[in-house]
């Protein structure tokens, strides 16, 4: 069972893509929804809204415990921000919010992700953050204009872009493999 944090944001597109790959998906809105998950997706959305939602629902500590338990977490865009030192503090990175600018600066681009077979992914960046700082044991998987936009640290996989809005399923397949759920 894969959880998708559904307080606000792009949760439906993640759920659709995961289901198309054969995964069972549960929307997560309260701490009880985190029970017995094989993996969790923290989608994009508005990081301020999501931060307030996590506080309101008392989800911060349960999410920290889930991350510490080794359960794979895939975080995209605002989800990446949630993992950083200044938010949940589970991933040793500092995200810079809206780093590429307002919506008129949003873009899509071909991005080579370390470890992904085949051609670059067509990554969609929407008011996207980048990773401004990271610890030595954080592996940077991709960059755009010299800025880190994808990283892994242990069981945490964080990307600044959206593949769930397109047709490329490689990131989600990779995540399901980490979650040991057959795709």
């Amino acid at each position: 069972m894969i959880g998708v944090l559904a307080l606000q944001g792009g949760f439906a597109a993640h759920a659709r893509m995961l289901r198309s790959l054969g995964a069972h998906v549960r929307e997560v809105r309260v701490p009880g929804d985190l029970a017995h998950l094989d993996g969790l997706v923290m989608p994009g959305g508005e990081s301020t809204t999501m931060t307030l939602g996590i506080e309101r629902e008392g989800l911060a500590d349960p999410l920290r415990e889930l991350a510490a338990s080794g359960t794979p977490i895939l975080a995209t865009c605002a989800g990446l921000i949630m993992l950083d030192r200044e938010h949940l503090g589970v991933m040793d990175i500092v995200a810079r919010r809206n780093a590429f600018g307002r919506q008129v600066r949003s873009f899509e681009a071909d991005v080579a992700v370390a470890g992904f077979p085949g051609p670059p992914v067509r990554a969609i960046f929407i008011r996207a953050p980048w990773i401004a700082e990271h610890a030595d044991d954080v592996e940077i998987l991709a960059s755009v204009d010299g800025h880190a936009i994808a990283a892994r640290q242990g069981n945490l996989l964080a990307v600044a872009f959206h593949l769930e809005l397109g047709a490329d399923t490689r990131l989600h397949e990779h995540f399901l493999q980490l979650s040991a759920v057959s795709p």
Binding site: A6, G9, G10, F11, T49, Q103, V104, S106, D110, L165
Partner: protein, 294 residues
Amino acid sequence: MRDEATFRVKAGLAEMLKGGVIMDVVDAEQAGIAESAGAAAVMALERVPADIRRDGGVARMSDPAMIKAIQDAVTIPVMAKARIGHIAEAQVLEALEVDYIDESEVLTPADDANHIDKWPFSVPFVCGATNLGEALRRIGEGAAMIRSKGEAGTGDIVEAVRHMRSIRADIRRLATLDESELATAAKELGAPLDLVRGVAHEGGLPVVLFCAGGIATPADASLMMQLGAEGVFVGSGIFKSSDPQARAQAIVEATTHFADAERVARASEGLGEAMTSLETSSLHGEQLLAQRGW
């Protein structure tokens, strides 16, 4: 290869607003209250619909200085309204780098025959619709997000319900038709055939569908989400109520937990007075904003 302002990038921002509440604000202070209450975006405008309705006269795009002040005050997306068909107002809003332009019937239309051709713009557009044909015409013109219109500034949910039910029912109906019937349906809807085919095959619009116009309570938000809205615009309903901060938080909570009646009940407790409301059936002719646009 790098491309800005593709349709996926435009429609993608609306995907990120899903499950959220977009709140009308008239100054930086209200924008701050909306953001701290959990709004997913704010709509910057000089007067909320209830005041536009009360004041009468021509309602136009807001003062750019006010929009900039709101952009400086918050980090969530800032939307702003242009008059229907007012290409130059939309260009001004694009120059200000607002995150979404609402080509809105709440303002006085500038063109009584044509909507803005939205394809050339880098900034995405959201447009209102009362039915599926209208929604698909707006998408055909380049809109990257649709909101049901409802009847803005009334606090009466009945029109929002009517429009959302109409859109969802027509989507379900299209899914039952064969190819030749879809061509006829496109003619009847006055909508592009390729979009009609897409809706029939996907069982939904190709863009995100929010609701607007008349939401005044947490239960109103829950109702609209249960009817198929993917998020909620609240105009006058928050800052014309007696306790905007509490009501804003409650509507955000009820939108997230729309299917959980206990949570909606708890969110609805002790919010004080809702906005002063108008029964839509007492309005007629020019007083009905939803009839603007075609």
